[in-house]
């Protein structure tokens, strides 16, 4: 049992993002309102972003900006040693930086589609839209 708890404690970041992902997935599948589905999609994206960021973390490391690098660059850089263990992994940060802006853009497209659907059917409830489509 204590084995299980130590496992849970050492990997609690994954538990958080999986819970968030389940909430988002449930909202996308089961919610009737299109705006709630979009909110679910955003929660899902947030879970993925948190997952990537948590992968990049390192114990005892700082943000990936090289310290005291202003005065030495170019040809003098050969004598300047950087320990990779002192800086957290920059790669997930780069990927998620672009993913956040892209998620805002996809949110805009989703809301634009929702506005068009509302103008056509005068509702955002999925079952009412489906019954109107069947009637046509």
């Amino acid at each position: 049992m204590s084995d299980f708890f130590s496992l849970l404690l050492s990997k609690y970041n994954y538990w958080i993002y999986i819970t968030l992902m389940m909430i988002g997935l449930y909202a996308m599948i089961a919610k009737n309102n299109l705006v709630k589905k979009i909110v679910g999609m955003n929660i899902f994206q947030t879970a993925i972003i948190l997952f990537y960021i948590s992968i990049g973390a390192k114990k005892g490391a700082t943000i990936p900006i090289i310290e005291h690098a202003h005065e030495r660059h170019g040809s003098e850089a050969g004598s300047f040693l950087v320990q990779a263990a002192n800086y957290i992994n920059p790669l997930p940060h780069v990927l998620m930086l672009t993913a956040i802006v892209v998620s805002v853009a996809t949110l805009g497209v989703a809301l634009a589609l929702a506005i068009r659907i509302y103008n056509r059917y005068k509702t955002l409830e999925e079952d009412e839209i489906l019954s109107q489509i069947r009637k046509e």
Binding site: K11, M21, I29, K58, I65, P90, L91, L95, G108, A112
Partner: protein, 277 residues
């Protein structure tokens, strides 16, 4: 439907939780993601690009293709919002509402072409959804917006040495115009950043990025290999990488700013560009 949703969510969550047994623990320095390519980026960034912020150098130089196409993605998203929503013909009400500021009386003008009370200072045009006159919010936002934009420019320009860069600064810059549209109305935002201008800025930003890459190609190097710009900029090849990253970040900032404003304007006015939220 709800039961199916719960079942699918729980099932996929259970599979993922089962998979975490093989994952590295939280903040493990020896996790596989931190062992292969990222130490090389961290150790070589000063030597190869002279940019202390590793995120910026990876974003715009080592993985420049990725960022270029992400910029294209947000441009396409803005274009899709425009195509889906924009309506050019004016439909419906010709009447326009004005507020007499000292008394708070609302004046409705049927034929606004014949009688535009533009020269009268104490009238202001208001949206058809009634909003109270709020000098506190308007004054505060008017005071804040210039500093917000200055900060955005700092975030773009100082992305080499501190957390920041084109995406973050562009979003702040776009948010300043959106704040103007929220606190005043959409028309005063459009007076500062018109539809033609922000629609033009969006492809210009993407073009600044792709054009820098193409210029490197013309100067005889690989696409987006900024060391080819060294003779143009008059610096050595390492500083040329640093300056190339800056040019690209400015392009990203312009594209992101324009896309944020474009999407907001289209969504808030449902494509009519007359009245916002």
């Amino acid at each position: 439907m709800k039961l199916v949703g719960v079942a699918v969510a729980l099932l996929s969550g259970a599979f993922l939780l089962y998979a975490t047994v093989d994952f590295p623990p939280w903040a493990d320095p020896a996790s596989p993601a931190s062992l292969h390519v990222s130490p090389r980026y961290i150790e070589k960034t000063i030597e190869e690009t002279a940019v202390p912020n590793v995120v910026t150098s990876v974003l715009a130089d080592y993985r420049g293709y990725d960022t270029m196409f992400e910029t294209t993605v947000i441009f396409v998203a803005g274009l899709v919002c425009f195509v889906l929503l924009r309506i050019f013909r004016t439909v419906g009400s010709e009447q326009i509402l004005y507020r007499h500021i000292p008394t708070g009386i609302t004046v409705r003008i049927r034929d606004h072409r014949r009688f535009p009370p533009r020269e009268l200072k104490e009238f202001e045009r208001i949206d058809s959804v009634w909003t109270p006159y709020d000098p506190i919010i308007k004054t505060m936002c008017r005071l804040m917006i210039p500093f917000l934009q200055l900060f955005a420019l700092y975030v773009i320009a100082h992305g080499h040495h501190s957390p920041g860069g084109g995406f973050q600064g562009g979003v702040i810059l776009g948010a300043s115009f959106i704040l103007l549209a929220v606190s005043h109305d959409l028309r005063s935002s459009l007076a500062r950043m018109g539809e033609k201008i922000h629609t033009l800025f969006c492809p210009v930003g993407v073009l600044a990025y792709a054009g820098t890459g193409a210029l490197c190609l013309l100067l005889g190097d690989n696409f987006l290999d900024y060391k080819a710009l060294a003779p143009l900029l008059g610096v050595d090849s390492i500083m040329a990488r640093s300056h190339g990253i800056f040019i690209v970040e400015v392009g990203v900032g312009i594209a992101v700013m324009a896309t944020m404003i474009w999407i907001y304007n289209n969504l808030s006015s449902e494509g009519r560009y007359d009245e916002g939220l």
